[in-house]
């Protein structure tokens, strides 16, 4: 250890000798990119600016000293930092996810997490050339949190619930000095080798369960390897609209910025993981490289999170990853790949729970479905040429619908500048849009009228484009969504359904087809006190339209569904095999097939009657009767879900009218295990509402 410290000291002092070599140039950051490009024989682009922002990611390992080293040893850490350059300086912030093993004889127990949220100042001691030494100081919050059951609180904290961390976290501060050097691999990326001397103090922590005296502080000495990356090419989230184009631009004038998109996707995950540890105090938040390795080694399973978390929040998170890319000039399918990458990154490294199939599917497929929906909705709201209060309202509205896009518009200055809207209306406000905004009452019953419950609710339905007449047929050029927000329910969003066409083929007359075949992406989320159903499906869809009279049309849709992974409330799901239990799950998981049909009667462009029917078979993979293949009893479950809706809308004055719809949810659950009673569920629902119904 002493030799290591002496070596570290020498390493720290060595950059001073390097400083003398190039101090004259140290402040000229603007030269560095050009100079390096010249050195490497790369001609800099005319519009190229020096990088202003940077990201660094590091892994470290070493030894521990100080009081806590009576129990803790072998610190390892993984961290992500974001910084802004200012001459030869870099000022930034970051999160370090570290951990310790316990010493013998507890060496095989679960680790202790050490999360450090820090501010950093880095002095680049050489700003030219390939080899660039630096010295960094940092300080911030430290949080030490054991995962080992040996340190479970006794008694448990009041209000403890399954999923909370049973161990006490200790909060304090940490300071560190990090000398190192970067070896530039190209203009953007450098290999980063460094050492860190880190000291933390979190106040007294009782180590009596291990037979030791309390400890309050400790130090770590780590060798580190990582990457420094300037993803922004001088412009966070792409050049301003006024900057001359230096590459392909999307319809909104954005150049493709793969790096910034990836940095945002990673930052979202890191920030979420870091804030979870502080705010949630769950048993899954002490993330660190040890659990990253364990998660990747152990592979995928199923988890037991709340229905809303698994079927909505994960998909929403995926939409954020998706829009990190989409709002950085990348296309639909590339952005879908970002959603998938972000999902994997979260599953492996964002929480200590094992990676789960259900999260991957909900976050990736659900993510790109919700992501493109929110991206298109925000596009409809935005107005690049609006000014004054109208502009503020539009930017704020778009920000609320698609926050990461709003952030990128702020960073790039696009939210405050006036410039041309997209040339193609399909990229901005596709034709044939319609919106229904309703306020009303929702009455939910069970098997009889007794015990009905009444709720106030808000209905928002929106669609744009149509599969017959769209001048362009890119993914989601035709999209429909339904949102229901209910007061007094177990959570506000009780219905969210999104359908978007991924591919369309008109049948017959290409100019004015009566039938269109499409591949359609479905996202379904229904969550209330009486039933839960959700999933992501890919469908083969046939759209048809029939002109019944000059003013009356009948539109039909028939979709054959492949449900990648559905979730439906179940009666025995609490006995599902779930690794690292967080709660008792009340719904089953499984793939399936089904059908969804809809008929709309349209009079003068207003839909007056809608009938919708859905059948879904869910073949349980994880839930009521174990995971498939695990149970030697061979017992599985099948759920047969049906729901139907009939709606009438009566225009009263201009775009205002009265609507009413009836809906019934039917579930027939068949459990093959002896003693597990089959269950039939029937839940009717009635809604009446006052609605604003607009169409263009």
């Amino acid at each position: 250890m002493k030799k290591g410290l002496v070596l570290l000291c020498a390493l720290a002092g060595w950059p001073l000798t390097a400083l003398a070599q190039d101090e004259d140039h140290a402040a000229d950051l603007s030269a560095q990119g050009i100079a390096l490009a010249t050195v490497q024989g790369i001609a800099p682009a005319a519009t190229e600016r020096p990088a202003r922002w940077g990201v660094n990611a590091n892994l470290g390992a070493g030894g521990a000293t100080g009081e806590f080293s009576s129990l803790l040893q072998r610190p390892i850490s993984g961290e992500l930092g974001l910084f802004r350059t200012q001459g030869p300086w870099r000022f930034g912030l970051g999160v370090s996810f570290g951990s310790f093993n316990m010493r013998k004889p507890f060496v095989d127990g679960l680790e202790w997490g050490l999360q450090q949220d820090y501010l950093s100042a880095t002095r680049m001691l050489r700003t030219r050339g390939t080899f660039r030494p630096y010295l960094q100081v940092r300080g911030g919050l430290a949080r030490l949190h054991p995962r080992s059951h040996l340190f479970d609180a006794r008694p448990l904290p009041e209000g403890f619930a399954l999923g909370d961390s049973p161990t006490r976290a200790a909060n304090g501060y940490s300071v560190a000095i990090v000398p190192g050097f970067e070896w530039n691999l190209n203009r953007s990326v450098a290999l980063d080798l460094s050492a860190s001397l880190n000291h933390f103090d979190v106040g007294p922590y009782d180590l009596a369960p291990a037979g030791l005296s309390p400890a309050s502080s400790g130090s770590t000495i780590e060798g580190r390897i990582g990457l420094r990356w300037h993803p922004d090419n001088g412009y966070p989230s792409g050049p301003r609209a006024s900057v001359e184009a230096d590459g392909p631009r999307d319809a909104w004038g954005l150049g493709r910025n793969y790096g910034w998109a990836a940095a945002e996707m990673m930052a979202v995950n890191w920030l979420a993981a870091a804030s979870n540890e502080h705010t949630r105090d769950g048993n899954l938040n002490q993330v660190n490289p040890r659990n990253w390795k364990t998660n990747i080694t152990d592979g995928f399973t199923y988890d037991d999170n709340e229905f809303r978390t698994n079927q909505f929040i994960h998909s929403y998170n995926g939409s954020v990853y998706f829009n990190s890319a989409r709002s950085n000039g990348l296309g639909f399918w590339t952005s879908a790949a970002y959603a998938t990458a972000g999902a994997f990154m979260w599953e492996c490294c964002g929480e200590t729970h094992p990676m789960s199939y259900n999260d991957m599917i909900a976050t990736s497929i659900g993510g790109f479905t919700l992501g493109e929906m929110t991206y298109r909705l925000s596009s409809e709201i935005l107005g690049n040429q609006a000014t004054g209060a109208k502009r503020v309202v539009k930017e704020v509205g778009a920000f609320l619908v698609d926050p990461v896009r709003g952030l990128n518009r702020l960073l790039s200055g696009r939210s405050t500048s006036t410039y041309d809207p997209p040339k193609d209306p399909m990229d901005w406000r596709p034709p044939r849009g319609k919106t229904l905004l309703g306020v009303g009452t929702r009455i939910v019953g069970s098997d009889s009228t007794s015990g009905n419950q009444t709720y106030g609710n808000l209905i928002f339905e929106h669609a744009y484009g149509n599969p017959y007449d769209n001048p362009r047929r890119k993914p989601f050029d035709f999209m429909e969504m339904q949102l229901q927000i209910t007061a007094g329910e177990k959570q506000p969003i009780t219905i969210l359904r999104v359908r978007g066409d991924l591919w369309e083929k008109p049948l017959g007359d290409q100019a004015a087809p009566k039938h269109v075949f499409a591949i359609t992406q479905f996202y379904d989320y229904m969550d209330n006190k009486t039933y839960e159903f959700g999933g992501q499906s890919l469908a083969a869809t046939l759209f048809s339209r029939f002109q019944l009279s000059p003013k009356v049309r009948l539109k039909t849709r028939a979709s054959g569904l492949f449900l990648s992974l559905g979730a439906v409330n179940s009666d025995y799901a609490t006995i599902a095999h779930v690794a690292n239990r967080e709660r008792l799950r009340e719904y089953d998981y499984g793939p399936g097939v089904g059908a969804d049909t809809q008929m709309d009667l349209v009079v003068k462009d207003q839909t007056l009657l809608t009938v919708n029917y859905r059948f879904q078979w869910v073949n349980v993979s994880n839930g009521s009767v174990y995971s498939k293949g695990v149970s030697s009893l061979g017992s599985n479950a099948n759920h047969y879900v049906q729901y139907g809706l009939a709606r009438f809308f009566v225009p009263v004055f201009k775009h205002f009218g009265l609507g009413a719809d009836g809906h019934v949810f039917l579930r027939k659950s068949r459990y093959s295990e002896p003693g597990f009673e089959d269950i039939d569920q029937r839940t009717p629902r009635l809604r009446v509402f006052l609605a604003f119904n607009s169409y263009r």
Binding site: M1, K2, L5, L8, C9, A12, G13, P15, L16, L19, A20, E23, A64, T65, G66, E67, S69, S70, L71, Q73, M102, R103, K104, P105, F106, G109, R123, L135, V137, S148, H149, L150, F151, D152, R154, F160, A161, L162, G163, P166, I177, P179, L197, P209, A210, G211, S219, I221, I575, H577, R581, R583, L584, Y626, S631, S632, L633, P674, G675, F676
Partner: protein, 150 residues
């Protein structure tokens, strides 16, 4: 000026690093007594159909538990949950227990080991999911801190 500032910073760093040296001799680690293994709980409870029974186990010292639960019919499904006490059936139902082990058949018997646990009381829940009553046999062994394996 800048160079002087950095020299000061590096000096401070070295001072800080050298100040760590006395602490480099790691403090003594946790005590590691000799390995002892003992059965701390054994019973043959009746577990009626569709019912949970709870049994409290007291561990006298830090160690790892090995829980073995068997029953008569291979067709029966008995869920075995070990949780920090108190964790009755009601607390389990409202999800307020600190669950340490949660195992199902098949196959029976269910045998599982825990990670390191502090001395104290733990509740063992046996939940019979089938419509036939069962007689279970429960055995809980404690391996002390000195044992390399549970």
């Amino acid at each position: 000026m800048t160079r002087g500032w950095l020299r000061s910073l590096a000096s401070a760093f070295c001072a800080l690093a050298l100040a760590q040296l006395p602490a480099c001799s790691s403090p003594a680690g946790p005590p590691s007594p000799t390995c002892t293994r003992e059965t701390i709980f054994s019973s043959n409870p009746q577990v009626p159909a569709s019912t949970q029974v709870v049994q409290t186990i007291t561990t006298p010292r830090t160690g790892r538990l090995t829980v073995t639960v068997d029953w008569v019919s291979p067709e029966s499904i008995i869920r075995v949950v070990l949780a920090q006490s108190p964790c009755g059936a009601d607390a389990f139902r409202v999800k307020s227990c600190n669950i340490i082990v949660d195992e199902f058949p098949p196959p029976k018997p269910v045998e599982t080991s825990t990670t390191w646990l502090a001395p104290g009381n733990y509740d063992l829940l046996l939940a019979n999911f089938t419509s036939v009553g069962e007689t279970a046999s429960v055995k809980v062994n404690l391996s002390s801190v000195g044992c390399a394996t549970p």
